[in-house]
Amino acid sequence: MSIEGALRYYLGTGIGKGVLRFERLRNEWRLRHRAPKTSSPFSPPLSTSPWLKELISRHYLTGRYADAHRKVAWVTSGAPVEFLKALGYYLLYPENHGAVCGIRRRGEELCQAAEEAGYSRDICSYARTDLGSLLSGRTPVGRLPKPDLLLCCTNICQTVLFWYRVLAAHFRVPLVIIDTPFIYSTAPAHAVDFVQRQLELGVETAERVAGRSIDPAELERVTRRSREAVELWMRVLERARHVPAPITAFDEFIHMGPIVEMRGDRATVDYYRALLATLDLRIARGTGALKQERIRLIWDNLPIWYRMRGLSELLARHGATLVASTYTNAWGELAALIDPSDPMRSAARVYLHPILNRGTGHKLDTIQRLATDYAAHGVILHSDRSCKPYSVGQMDQRERLSARGIPALLLEADHNDPRAFADEQAENRIQAFLEMIPS
């Protein structure tokens, strides 16, 4: 790392952070002074939204200059990142970058760029977006830093294994693989041992790349902040149990950025604490995210990033909204397993238990529990062409939920590739489903 690199890093991020802070203050002022739209079915945006925007923009801004001065790791969304944070790595999540591309409607062109290079359309659209961005050099966030290390954990799918091998060959950097055996209920001790051993080997590689040893006190601090953020995130989600819900799953899909990308950071803890206070204020005032909430729904699977607004407005026209989702819940439900006093063992346990690494029966129980806890009238099961591990079993889940008196709709789409989504048919299904729910 050169002096010139350090200068570029501190100058670039310093000026950028100043600009972002100015934008946040301006947006906050506008939010306070702008007259709310009376025709909108939604309440005004959450007052912390400009802060969230600053937080996420700052993360990508840092990324732009990161490889000039810091070690960079690209990681999967469910990867155990605390040891990398403790070693001072800047972390980039290609899946989150994929979601940003999806929201900004850039998913299709980047998927096509990957397809032109020979990647099949049957591959996950996050992987295609990422590889397409890599090959074409196009990204809506300015620039992505080159990785010094790749960390791939198979607790979300097997696609990541092949995706990261492609990245390793492309960047010629070490790849750490954490293989998490599939579990049905709770992980047996030998599975935890197996993952812990891989983590220890991963730490050795990360130390070698970083050129320094891990400080156990720092690892404990990062793990404690991770736990704090995850607990706060869970409390944020649980506020939507209130009728009317002060926050919807559509809001949560955006607000989950920090818990995925900046788990273990002080700023993430501060942000969720402020968000929680805002939601409590809404509850005290009886303000719902939707002005007239009539139908409460649970969402299963990833969001349809490029149609979030359209879907949210379509539901709102019928007085419906999403009050919880298995997806946002996945980043909160494991808080109790995180033990800062034993970071490696607890990481092995935590990262074995995500919803996608467990049996479909567990997912069914989770959906049913959410439906009860959040007083939901029905469930939308997004059958995601790109995410097979999340979508497998949904036919049976729909039937079993219906048999238990919870209406469920199977909605075919894709989280990042709009070519696999038919607006008119989706709208027809959703409207028919809402007509079916007695109110």
């Binding site: 036919m395 039937e399 219906s402 209406p407 199977l410 075919e412 038919a422 008119e424 048919q425 027809n428 299904r429 409207q431 028919a432 007509e435 079916m436 007695p438």
Partner: protein, 252 residues
């Protein structure tokens, strides 16, 4: 006439309209092919309904439901077909609606409400379009192929449920000298196989009834009954069930 409710079903292939009395009996109906300028067409048909049947609340349904000016409500075909068939047959059960562009299987409760439904995927398999495309390839009128399929002495299996693949399968069957009647019978069997799996995915609750324009094809009801192993009922005017249901919903 003294209509109490009007329903307009602006479908992808055909626009249907219907008016009912306060007691729910059909007193007026109108059917015409969907025109490219659907908005204008819907306005004209709504005016026609009011002129000929009397002014009454109007409910729109079908893919063009949002384009029907002056409609009190726009309700999906799923809810409307369920309501129409329920009123016609007097009981709940399973409604199989085969439309021009999509097919739906609807589970109807004892009170006429929709309990559950399943639709075809984003393709023409299992819909009227499948028959239109394949009949056109054989240079046959879509109205005559049902009777032809029933009368055929032989049948050749068509493995494709996809309209595009079925078309190329037909080309190779013709090249091999297969009889036209046998191909037509095979095509119907293929369409019904797709529908039957859609019905089974929802669970068969008898009675099973057909609705939608394609239900007028006699081979569909016969083959579906065979595939499901139960009787398949046919309303008097299957094509009108969506508009009829919409008109009944306008009474609420």
């Amino acid at each position: 006439m003294n209509a109490a409710g009007i329903g307009v079903d602006a479908g992808s292939t055909v626009v249907k309209a219907c008016a009912v009395t306060a007691a729910g009996s059909r007193i007026w109906q109108h059917v015409e092919l969907t025109e490219p300028r659907l908005e204008e067409q819907a306005r004209r048909i709504a005016a026609l309904a009011r002129e000929q049947a009397g002014a009454a609340p109007l409910v729109a349904t079908g893919y063009g439901r949002k384009l029907v000016a002056g409609a009190e409500r726009a309700i999906t075909e799923i809810t409307c077909h369920a309501r129409g068939v329920f009123a016609e047959l007097g009981s709940g059960g399973t409604v199989v609606d085969i439309g021009g562009q999509d097919s739906k299987v609807i589970s109807v409760g004892a009170d006429g409400s929709v309990r559950n439904f399943a639709m075809n995927d984003k393709c023409a398999a299992g819909t009227g379009r499948f028959l239109e495309v394949t009949a056109a390839r054989l240079r046959l009128a879509v109205e005559e192929i049902g009777a032809m399929a029933l009368a055929a002495a032989e049948e050749v299996p068509i493995s494709s449920t996809c309209a595009v693949f079925a078309e190329s399968e037909i080309v190779s069957l013709i090249a091999r000298g297969a009889a036209l009647e046998a191909i037509v019978r095979g095509l119907h069997r293929s369409l019904v196989a797709r529908l039957a799996s859609l019905v089974r995915s929802l669970g068969i609750v008898e009675p099973v009834a057909l609705s939608g324009g394609v239900a007028r094809n006699p081979a569909i009801a016969a083959f579906l009954a065979e595939a499901l192993g139960c009787e398949v009922k046919l309303p008097e005017a299957p094509q009108l069930m969506g508009a009829y249901g919409a008109a009944l919903l306008a009474l609420d």
